[in-house]
């Protein structure tokens, strides 16, 4: 027995699963496609331009940031594409393109690469960019276009979103009157996405389909979306005095589904263990509900997720399991932390 070639000698294990980080990002991109198509249908071809700018700028920012820091290029992992698409989904369709570009640079350079790139940023890049844009350009970031306005030739208007309308009813203590109110979309319209809002958040059914795909593919666990949405539902049920229609508007309104399925589940900025995920999801849900009900802004998803992102290291410290066989409780033992 002679061998012509040299053998590879490497440490075990000698087989690897077929799951790759790039594949995971590709799955997320696939999961975003239904909501993307819905956005094009409701808000017209400008969706393509906004998304092209955010994705393009994210890729360029990632490329030059890595280059400037003399680190290996990471365009191939597709994470910059995911950030770009999710950022676009968080913008109103009428956003000036240069603002979308600035948001992308903030997301990739400031939030992601300044902290070490993929896996190291402590808050969600797309969400942080959305918040920076909202604070910097409040008017452009709250100009909501009605669905099909592009087809009907209607101008963008600074109109109240369904959530804002809902909140005014809640604030005036007359929530029983909100159903059928002037300009409020029906629940069916909410489900299919025929309402004003940011690009990717409007179509509930498309987001749910994407979420289902990610769960089936094993990319995300149900823990965060379930506890997040569930917590909002419970609090809204209490706030709405048992009115399920009120709850339904809250679940499908604003960016809750987009946030709970695609942003709160971001690996880098959410806990690793199931216990941690549950605490994280409940925290996001609680903050979202409180901001929506009592805050000065109609929407609270972005801030809730960002606040919980910051708490992740602490949640992790509390929920990291003890190594196998370690006695349940040992006095004075230090927790394993980061």
């Amino acid at each position: 027995m002679t061998l012509d070639k040299k053998l590879t000698v490497s440490a075990s294990p000698h087989i690897r699963s077929s799951v790759t980080s790039t594949g995971i990002m590709l799955d997320v991109i696939l999961a975003l496609i239904p909501a993307f198509f819905a956005a094009v249908i409701f808000f017209g071809p400008r969706v393509l331009a906004v998304t092209a700018v955010t994705v393009g700028t994210c890729l360029l920012s990632e490329y030059f940031a890595r280059k400037a820091m003399k680190r290996p290029g990471t365009l191939g992992d597709l994470s910059a594409v995911v950030t770009g698409v999710i950022l676009a989904f968080n913008l109103p369709v009428s956003i000036p393109l240069w603002m979308a570009g600035i948001g992308s640079v903030v997301a990739i350079v400031v939030v992601k690469q300044f902290f070490g790139g993929i896996g190291m940023n402590f808050v969600n890049p797309a969400l942080m960019a959305r918040i920076v844009l909202t604070v910097s350009f409040p008017s452009a970031m709250s100009t909501w276009t009605s669905a099909f306005a592009w087809r009907d030739g209607v101008e963008a208007v600074t109109s109240a979103s369904p959530l804002a309308q809902l909140n005014s009813f809640f604030a005036s203590g007359s929530i029983e009157n909100f159903a059928g109110a002037q300009g409020l979309p029906t629940l069916t319209q909410m489900f299919f996405g025929q309402r004003s809002g940011s690009l990717g958040e409007v179509c509930a059914v498309a987001l749910l389909l994407g979420g289902l795909f990610l769960i089936i593919r094993g990319v995300i666990s149900v823990a965060i979306p379930f506890t997040y949405i569930g917590t909002v539902a419970v609090i809204m049920l209490i706030a709405g005095k048992g009115d399920f229609t009120f709850v339904a508007y809250h679940l499908m309104g604003g960016g809750l589904l987009l946030g709970a399925i695609f942003m709160a589940t971001d690996y880098t900025t959410s806990p690793v263990n199931v216990k941690g995920k549950i605490i994280f999801g409940i925290g996001c849900g609680f903050l979202t509900a409180v901001i929506r009900l009592f805050g000065s802004m109609p929407e609270g998803v972005s801030f809730s997720i960002i606040i919980m992102n910051v708490l992740v290291p602490h949640i992790e410290r509390l929920t990291t399991p003890k190594p196998f066989g370690t006695p349940k409780k040992v006095r004075g033992e230090k927790a394993v932390g980061q």
Partner: protein, 450 residues
Amino acid sequence: MKAKKSGGVLKAVARTHGGVGVAHNKNTAEMEVERMPAPAQVILPMQQHIGVPCSPIVKVGDMVAVGQLIADSEKYVSAPIHASISGKITKIGETPLPNGVISQSITIESDGEMRPFEGITPPTVTNREELIKAVRASGLVGLGGAGFPTHVKLNFPPDKNVDTLIINVAECEPYITVDYRECIDNSWDILSGIFTLKELLGIKNVIIAVEDNKPAAIKELRKIADNSNDTDDTVKVMVLKSRYPQGAEKVLVQATTGRRVPPGKLPADIGCMVMNVASVAFIARYLKTGKPLVSRSLTVDGSAIANPKNVRVAIGTNVGDVIDFCGGFKEDPYKIITGGPMMGLAIIGTDLPVLKQNNAILALAEKTRRVKREMDCIRCGRCANVCPMDLMPTLIARFAKVKDAEKIKQTGVTVCMECGSCSYACPSGIPLVQYMRLAKTILAEEGGKK
């Protein structure tokens, strides 16, 4: 925890954490073990077990017969070595082992006769001490891959109160089917071994733990478990989910009894003893015939092997000769492994001897090579979710990179058994097992300083 019986077999009593669903590739399951003719030469290393290496008691030029003692150690944690073919000692030199260690070794040139040593007689075994002595004399080490001298395991202190003997038929590593074949072909040896151990060591209960991907083995094992000698029904078959690493000692103990081995302790400390099924069957045969451990069964498989087979080979046979017996390579291998693909060792060439604890030779073809370029951790948590020891591999890797011994200590990395699940699952291709080893080395060095 109490196990529920359904359809004549038990179900696992505890859910174990983590694990990965690897492709089983049990291609050789239905192939009976073929006996490979005696090779022209064997090389018998003095280190084929965990413990003290043996020293030769023969000289170059001596004629030896099959089963003749040729090397032993005065130390207790060691296992003697016997001639696996008959012939002439031609060399006492050095040979590399699969793990890269150079070991003293004895080379025997075959006389082609396979003449058995006339001194072989069945040992008289009527009590615990005689059993342990006999098992040591047989040269037996754990045949499942670890290579720990069996007599040391059997000699647990009586105050440990061991009440459960767990027979490991999980065989959770892909490809390997020799334990499965043992159940199909030698089930009565297994039964006889079980009763010997149970009676002489005074162990109350026996659980034969087998993964659910081996229905034929389960059927055979049920036959022996339900036999009429076992009037109190103390021998039971337990069917476990096929999930790697189900057969790892601590995982198996937890799944079968619900007990958890504390860090740094042994199964005996919580009243359990785990034995590989082939080792148990060997003990039965040894007590009957007195023939020591001179040959063993191997699965030879992998995408580069022409005719995958289960073969019985003389210990010390050249790996290349075994592969030739299986038709050689049908295409160029890029890697040859002794043992399974999850925990086995990649070897530098085929010019190495088969050791007592080797249970497989795998040759993987170039086209099946899956290269994952190492990328940054995306914190997906897969490594933590698959870790059977409840560790956070990515966190440990981070501390290992910066050599932070204090932080590493807090992670409890010492319980890591290097099963490879984390490296297997990592989508970023990070060699996490190597970082676990590095972390342990850093801890050991830190401990040495103090």
